[in-house]
C-alpha cells in the first residue's frame, strides 16, 4: 500500500489547532457539547464504575498486543523487504507469496485458521502435548500475537521493500568503496537509511494495527473490546458500551499519532 492510501485509511495527523475559534466552529462546538451532554444525561452510564478496573485491564491488553505485534512484525518485515530486493530467487518468491497471501485474505480468517485450525491440530500430536510449549499453545493469545505479527510483517514488508530499493545506489557504492564488508554496509548505511525512509508510513501502519487488534477478542483474548462485549451481554445495553469503546479507541489513536509526531520531530531530516 502506498503512503497516501495508508493516510486515507488511518488517521495520521490530528486536525490543526489553527483558527479553532471561527464563529461557525463555536456554534458547531456548542451543538457538539449539547449532544455530549444529552448522551451523558439521558443514557445509562451507571455500569462504568463497576467495570472500570476490567476496562483498564482490557486497554492494557490491547496496548500489549499492539506493541508486541508491531515490534515483532517490524523485525520480521526487515528481512522480508530485504530478500525481495537482493535475495536469491527462492527466498524472493517465498517472501512475495507470503505478502500476497497475507494481504489477500481477511485477518479475521487468518486468525480463525490459526486458532481453530492449528489449535485443533496440535492436540493430536503427543510430542507437542508433552513439550514445554503446550501450556502456551492451550491459551488463545499466542495465536492472536502470531496472526497480528504476520499481518503487520506482510504490510510493512512491502513498505520496507520499497524503502530498501529506494536507498540511492551511490551511497551503497561509496560505502563499498570505503572497504566495508557487505554486512557492515547493511548495518551502517542500508538499514538505517531504509528505516528512515519507511518511518513516515509507520504511524499509519501502527494505527491500522491498533484498528486490527479488536479482532483477537473473537478468539477469546480479553482485550478492551471483549470487556465491552461482556458489559453488553450483562447489562443488555446496545449503544452506551459501544460509544465508550469508540471513545477509547479514538483516544488511543490520538495518543499514538501525537507520540509518533513527537518522535518524528526528534529525527533530523535534511532540509526540513
Amino acid at each position: 500500500m502506498s503512503d497516501p492510501t495508508i493516510t486515507a485509511l488511518a488517521l495520521t495527523d490530528l486536525p490543526t489547532k489553527k483558527s479553532i475559534f471561527k464563529p461557525h466552529r463555536i456554534v458547531l462546538m456548542a451543538i457538539a457539547a449539547a449532544v455530549v451532554f444529552c448522551i451523558v444525561w439521558f443514557m445509562r452510564w451507571d455500569w462504568v464504575p463497576e467495570y472500570s478496573d476490567r476496562l483498564a485491564d482490557g486497554v492494557g491488553m490491547t496496548l500489549i498486543m499492539l506493541a508486541s505485534t508491531s515490534i515483532l512484525g517490524f523485525l520480521l518485515a526487515v528481512p522480508i523487504g530485504l530478500v525481495q530486493v537482493t535475495g536469491p530467487w527462492p527466498l524472493k518468491m517465498l517472501a512475495q507469496v507470503f505478502c500476497t497471501v497475507i494481504r489477500g485474505t481477511p485477518l479475521l480468517l487468518q486468525l480463525w485458521l490459526l486458532y481453530y485450525g492449528l489449535g485443533s491440530l496440535f492436540p493430536q500430536f503427543p510430542e507437542i502435548r508433552n513439550s514445554f510449549l503446550w501450556p502456551y499453545l492451550r491459551e488463545s493469545w499466542p495465536y492472536g500475537v502470531v496472526a497480528l505479527t504476520l499481518s503487520f510483517a506482510a504490510y510493512e514488508g512491502e513498505v520496507m521493500r520499497g524503502a530498501f530499493a529506494g536507498v540511492p545506489s551511490g551511497e551503497l557504492e561509496a560505502a563499498r568503496a570505503y572497504g566495508m564488508s557487505p554486512f557492515t554496509v547493511f548495518r551502517r548505511i542500508w538499514l538505517p537509511r531504509a528505516v528512515h525512509r519507511a518511518l513516515p508510513t509507520l504511524t499509519g501502519e501502527t494505527v491500522l494495527q491498533l484498528k486490527a487488534t479488536p479482532l483477537v477478542a473473537t478468539i477469546t483474548v480479553i482485550d478492551v473490546y471483549a470487556i465491552i462485549s461482556q458489559v453488553r451481554q450483562k447489562t443488555y445495553l446496545t449503544y452506551e458500551p459501544l460509544l465508550l469503546l469508540a471513545l477509547i479507541y479514538l483516544c488511543l489513536t490520538a495518543i499514538l499519532v501525537v507520540g509518533f509526531r513527537y518522535f518524528e520531530s526528534k529525527i533530523p531530516t535534511r532540509g526540513a
Partner: protein, 242 residues
C-alpha cells in the same frame, strides 16, 4: 492417529448437501454482493465528501472532517457494530413514525450500508488527494470557457483525477472485499461465518479455513488483473510515474 490422509477429507467440499462446497460458494456470493454494493455506496459518498471538503462551505468542511476523522480513528469492527445497530434502529423508528410499523431490514442491505459508510470516509480522502493533484489551471480554463460547475466536474475534474485516484481506489476495493469478513461478527452469513459453521460442524477446521482463504485470494488476484487493465487504460498518454 493423525496422518495426512485422514486430515484431508476432500468430499467435505463437494457441492451437494453432504459436502459444504455449495454453502461456501453461496457465502462467497453474499460477500461479493456486499463488497460491490458497499464499495459503490462508498464511492458515491466519497465523491460527495471530497467535493464538500474541497469546495463546500465552512460548516460542511468541518462536519466532513469529523466524519473522516472518526472513521479513520475507530476500528472497523466497532464501527460496523455501531452502524449495524444504529442503522436498523433509526430505520425502524422512522418507519414507526411514518406509521408503517417495524420493518424487516435484510442483512444484505444493512451490510452494504455499513461497509459503504466506512468506505465512504476512506474514498473521501483518496478522491480529495486525487482532485488536488489536478492542476488548477485546467479547471480555471474550463470555467473560462463558460462551463457550469457540473460540466467542469464531468468533463475535466473527474477524467483528469482518475489516474491519480486509481491506485488508492483499487486498494480500497481490496479492503472492501476483506472488510466483508467482519460482518461475520454481527452474524451475517457471508463467506467467513459460513466457513466457520462448516468447520465447526465437521471438525475439519484447517480444510475449510484454507478453502475460504483460497477463495478470498482468488478474489484478490482476479481483481489485481482487472485493476491492471483499468490502470493501463486510464494512464494512457500520461508520463510514467517516477
Amino acid at each position: 492417529m493423525a496422518d495426512a490422509g485422514s486430515l484431508i477429507n476432500w468430499s467435505l467440499l463437494a457441492l451437494e448437501p453432504p459436502g459444504w462446497g455449495g454453502v461456501m460458494l453461496a457465502g462467497l456470493w453474499q460477500s461479493l454482493q456486499i463488497a460491490v454494493g458497499g464499495y459503490a455506496l462508498g464511492l458515491i459518498l466519497g465523491t460527495g465528501g471530497a467535493m464538500g471538503k474541497l469546495y463546500g462551505g465552512p460548516v460542511t468542511k468541518d462536519l466532513l472532517e469529523v466524519y473522516t476523522t472518526l472513521v479513520r480513528a475507530v476500528p472497523e469492527l466497532v464501527l460496523i457494530l455501531i452502524l449495524y445497530y444504529a442503522g436498523t434502529d433509526v430505520l425502524n423508528q422512522l418507519s414507526a413514525l411514518v406509521g408503517f410499523g417495524p420493518v424487516d431490514i435484510s442483512g444484505l442491505a444493512a451490510g452494504i450500508f455499513v461497509i459503504g459508510v466506512v468506505q465512504g470516509a476512506y474514498s473521501t480522502e483518496v478522491l480529495r488527494g486525487a482532485i488536488k493533484a489536478v492542476p488548477a489551471g485546467q479547471m480555471e480554463a474550463a470555467r473560462a470557457y463558460g462551463m457550469s460547475p457540473f460540466q467542469v466536474m464531468r468533463r475535466i475534474t473527474l477524467p483528469a483525477m482518475l489516474p491519480h485516484a486509481i491506485p488508492g481506489l483499487s486498494n480500497l476495493w481490496l479492503i472492501a472485499t476483506k472488510d466483508t469478513a467482519l460482518l461475520a461478527v454481527v452474524g451475517f452469513s457471508e463467506l467467513t461465518l459460513v466457513t466457520r459453521q462448516a468447520a465447526g460442524s465437521t471438525k475439519a477446521y484447517l480444510l475449510f479455513f484454507c478453502a475460504a482463504g483460497v477463495l478470498y485470494l482468488m478474489i484478490t488476484l482476479v481483481s489485481n488483473v482487472l485493476i491492471g487493465f483499468i490502470e493501463r487504460h486510464y494512464r494512457r498518454g500520461m508520463a510514467r510515474a517516477a
